[in-house]
């Protein structure tokens, strides 16, 4: 029970990675609150507090900020477009949730966070190397990476702040991506071969890193981007074996 007695706030805990982190934190003894747009999802464990909250709304976020040991900024959306195709509404949606949402939550929670608090932002490998036709998403994650370092520098030693950069994780988002391919089955096989561990990630893989970063064991870890992607970005994207 590495998080016994800790209070955690996880944004976007309805499904996918967020839900994986909620479950892992509960398992380690934390008291967990999560949030999302709309009603409480079915199947969320009863001990978890659910708040209907849009993180892109600053006054709504300010209204729910209470002293919290662990803040996980996980809520995120993606729009699959290039810069040329992106509309103003796309900008507002992606940057509103992925960039402004993280900022809103950090600004609201930092002043009330107890000494020793840990902020964990969900960045992305796409914030370091670009995914095609994901322009605003890639940029929003690079924003998260930069903000992570800034918070670590400005608010150490009281607060640690790190980001986890997941690779391809088996969520609804990943399957939707493959469905767009000309040959979804072949696309999936190609993607698998590009992973040295020969599988995609699971929400629990990211949650394991989040638990460590939230725990006292990570007391010297701050200002960093921790990539958990099955080795994908360690390999050059130009893989002669695939030609």
């Amino acid at each position: 029970m590495r998080l016994a007695g800790k209070k955690a706030f996880v944004t976007g805990g309805r499904q996918g990675i967020g839900r994986g982190i909620v479950d892992a934190f509960l398992n380690e003894g934390a008291t967990v609150t999560t949030c999302g747009r709309g009603a409480r999802p079915k199947g969320l464990p009863p001990e978890v507090t659910w708040l209907a909250l849009d993180v892109s709304d600053p006054s709504a976020v300010n209204a729910v900020a209470t002293p919290t040991d662990i803040l996980v900024n996980n809520a995120g959306v993606q729009v699959e477009k290039t810069v040329a195709d992106s509309t103003d509404a796309d900008w507002d949606q992606v940057m509103g949730t992925n960039a402004r949402g993280v900022f809103n939550c950090c600004r609201a929670f930092i002043p009330v966070m107890p000494k020793g608090g840990s902020i964990i932002n969900i960045g992305s490998i796409s914030g370091n190397v670009a995914d095609p036709s994901m322009a605003l998403y890639n940029a929003s994650k690079a924003f998260v990476h930069g903000l992570t370092r800034s918070i670590a520098v400005d608010h150490g030693p009281d607060i640690r702040c790190n980001a986890i950069c997941p690779g391809w994780i088996e969520t609804g988002m990943l399957d939707a991506g493959f469905e767009l391919a000309k040959d979804p089955k072949k696309a999936k096989q190609d993607a698998l071969v590009r992973h040295p561990v020969r599988r995609f990630g699971k929400p629990a893989d990211i949650a394991a890193m989040a638990v460590w970063l939230a725990s006292e064991e990570a007391g010297f870890a701050t200002g960093q981007l921790f990539t958990v992607d099955g080795g994908m970005t360690a390999a050059s994207p130009l893989n002669p074996g695939l030609f």
Binding site: A152, P196, D205, T222, G223, V228, A234, A235
Partner: protein, 263 residues
């Protein structure tokens, strides 16, 4: 007890960071082979519970003999930690060829040789279904340079690239390969740097230098060997089963900042 039933070998096991890793692995239930030049620790004479193996990482015959010993006793190796390392505190111009070669022999070739003879045993371990974990020691100096540590920076850059290469080559065999890149950690190596053996001294008192170094860190301190052992333990455990091919910087936020200009 995250490492129950696991067989581990740690090189540089009597150094500052190596000792902490051996102690942690023992605590987590692993069978630990503590490999180094001598059984005496560099911090004190206390001998922990690891099984001592005499290993000069620059000698191929030593690497073969150490792995033979593990093979005879267990037939497999779940965890290899390449923690042996040396640091020559000089610029390129001042570094002799002998010092350059010795730096690479220990830090880079040593990592290569120990890994080379450990991999067949790690493949055996991976057949159990849970992946084997190989952990190298890079450094934040492999990304951004500390002054007067030229050969050291270069050897660590080599370790970083070797880590990615091994992750690609041996991932499909169930072997995860990662490197930990420490920043300033309170070890005999750091104390020697403070003592002014090379560029670290700078003429001022050790206390002034230590405070200056602390103040540059966002966490306002440098790390302990136990901080490093915490991450080694996670990477060695099955919880890290999807972590491979990465360079894990652990430096109290030091390298997250741009240069702190003194204007």
């Amino acid at each position: 007890m995250k490492l129950e039933g696991k067989i581990a070998l740690v090189t540089g096991a009597r150094g500052g960071i190596g000792r902490a890793i051996v102690a942690r692995f023992v605590k987590e239930g692993a069978t630990v082979y503590a490999a180094d030049l001598t059984p005496e620790g560099s911090l004190d004479a206390h001998v922990d519970d690891g099984v001592f193996v005499k290993l000069d990482v620059t000698q191929e015959a030593d690497a073969i003999a150490a792995m033979d010993q593990v093979r005879e006793a267990h037939g497999k190796l779940d965890i290899l930690v390449n923690a042996a390392g040396i640091e020559i505190e000089k610029t390129v111009e001042d570094t002799t060829l002998e010092e350059w070669n010795q730096s690479f022999a220990v830090n880079s070739t040593g990592t290569f040789l120990t890994s080379k003879y450990a991999l067949p045993l790690m493949r055996e371990a991976a057949k159990s279904g849970s992946s084997a974990s190989l952990i190298n020691f890079g450094s934040y100096d492999g990304f951004i340079a500390d002054p007067g540590l030229a050969a050291y920076c270069a050897t660590k850059g080599a370790v970083h690239a070797l880590t990615r290469a091994m992750a690609c080559d041996h991932g499909p065999e169930g072997i995860r390969v990662n490197a930990i890149c420490p920043g300033y950690i309170d070890t005999p190596m750091l104390q020697s740097f403070f003592n002014g053996d090379g560029s670290g001294g700078g003429g001022g008192s050790i206390e002034t230098l230590q405070k200056a170094v602390r103040d540059v860190h966002p966490m306002r301190t440098y790390g302990t060997p136990e901080d490093i052992a915490n991450l080694v333990n996670w990477l060695a455990s099955d919880e890290a089963r999807y972590a491979s091919g990465q360079l894990w910087v652990l430096d109290g936020g030091l390298s997250a900042q741009v240069q702190q200009m003194k204007l």
